[in-house]
């Protein structure tokens, strides 16, 4: 059986380790890299090297950051009285993409999931509590996913924050925009009824 030259085979092997990339996709990507210009290939290699070297987590909010402080924490324009708690950095990006929110964030780096062995101690909950105690917050918004893990985590955090005497809110749960009432489960429908508003 003929094989690819060793360096090419190695690139295919490495690409195959990426999520969602099977042997065929890996082969296609590797051949693409091989056919690309030397500059393009070098840029890809450099980008991969740089992301591991330079990106860490923000010491305040635990978002991904290229420095000690992430851009959001360093931004003096953001509202220091609002704190939004999210499960991971992708949720933060979703909130930012939507616009509308101008406060600060706190990234938990996960959700409480007993079956995955993820308890409160493996998340940034202790850091959240000390941050809340030290700051002048008017409101903490719990914006974890509306899944079992996300809800349970939000409820748990709410229980810890309430005694500190500040306003703790949960993002609205209900029907998604463009959704279908007929397919919604009972809890979603009753939540959307509870959260109804006058028009």
């Amino acid at each position: 059986m003929r094989a690819y030259p060793r360096p090419l085979a190695r690139l295919i092997e490495e690409l195959e380790k990426l999520p969602g990339i099977g042997p065929k996709s890996a082969q296609r990507l590797a051949l693409h890299v091989l056919r690309a210009s030397a500059e393009e290939a070098a840029a890809l290699g450099e980008a991969i090297r740089e992301v591991k070297e330079k990106v860490g987590t923000c010491r305040v909010c635990f978002n991904y950051s290229a420095g000690d402080l992430c851009d959001l924490c360093a931004d003096p324009q953001r509202d220091d009285s609002l704190l939004c708690v999210v499960g991971d950095a992708r949720d933060l990006m979703a909130m930012e993409r939507a616009g509308g929110y101008r406060g600060r964030y706190h990234v938990l780096q996960g959700l409480i999931a007993p079956m995955e062995g993820a308890g409160p101690d493996s998340l940034r909950i202790a850091e959240l509590l000390s941050r809340v105690r030290e700051g002048q917050w008017g409101e903490v918004i719990l914006a974890t996913n509306p899944t079992v893990e996300g809800e349970a985590t939000a409820m748990y955090i709410a229980g810890l924050l309430k005694p500190l005497g500040l306003k703790v809110t949960r993002i609205a749960l209900g029907l998604p925009v463009g959704g279908d009432l007929d397919y919604a489960d009972d809890v979603t429908i009753s939540r959307s009824l509870e959260g109804r508003r006058e028009v």
Partner: protein, 247 residues
């Protein structure tokens, strides 16, 4: 090519994992087919019609289709979402433990409707405000008995003498109760008469009744000390949710 055929099941979601960009893999315990895994496509999108009924612990009517390796969820009608399990960390952790225990004890596609009913009643009990330790110890005893791993509770596992109200012991390795004399001779842990009575009663009680009971704290602690390692003894690997509950 294999013909895609759809079928309906009553199911409980005992595990939910993310798959690729927007999909999920659910492990279901179904009344009709036992345990099976299915792909729920697009379930993490906000507008997914499958999202509601494929959440962890959800009791639902599902339509599944045979896929290449895993089944595919095609329709879901959620029946009970057990919302209170999310509002209380203790209930959430106990429900997770029960789900993980069932997942690790049963094999794929070996249907057992009474076991389905037990799981459903246990989740209902945990959701409805039943006492978590009572429900979970009862679940452990019943599921082990159902699958043939149940501990001996009436006779001595060494000398076969009937266990009365007197001194008794419990041996995990020997699989159950020991009379006072054998317990001494083999160094088995002592078992209080109240704990033994509770065990015998729990294994007999219908699961719906368990949700109305509350075992005394001391009895509950003793049963946990006995049953948790007994359960682990029959499992290939320790349960993560058990470590979570212990911490």
């Amino acid at each position: 090519m294999r013909r895609v055929r759809a079928y309906r099941v009553s199911s409980l979601v005992i595990r939910h994992r993310n798959l690729s960009e927007a999909d999920g893999i659910v492990t279901l315990y179904t009344r009709e087919r036992g345990k099976l895994s299915a792909v729920a496509k697009g379930v993490r999108r906000a507008r997914s019609k499958l999202a509601g009924g494929t959440q962890l612990f959800c009791h639902a009517q599902m339509q599944l289709a045979a896929g290449r390796s895993l089944e595919i969820v095609t329709q879901v009608q959620p029946l009970e979402v057990f919302y209170h399990l999310r509002e209380d960390m203790r209930r959430y952790a106990h429900a997770s433990y029960v789900a993980e225990l069932l997942d690790s004890l049963v094999h794929d596609e070996s249907p057992d409707p009474p076991l389905f009913d037990l799981m459903l009643a246990t989740l209902r009990g945990l959701d409805n405000g039943g006492d978590p330790p009572t429900l979970v110890r009862g679940f452990e005893l019943k599921v082990l008995a159902r699958l043939g791993y149940g501990p001996e509770m009436t006779h001595c596992v060494i000398c076969s003498a009937a266990i009365g109200a007197g001194k008794a012991g419990f041996s995990i390795a020997q699989g159950g109760t020991m009379c006072g004399r054998c317990a001494n001779a083999h160094g088995a842990a002592p078992l209080a008469p109240a704990a033994l009575r509770a065990m015998r009663e729990m294994v007999e009680l219908p699961p719906e009744e368990l949700a109305k009971r509350r075992i005394a704290k001391a009895v509950g602690e003793e049963l946990e000390r006995i049953l948790r390692p007994f359960v682990d003894y029959h499992l290939a690997r320790p349960l993560r949710s058990a470590e979570f509950l212990g911490s």
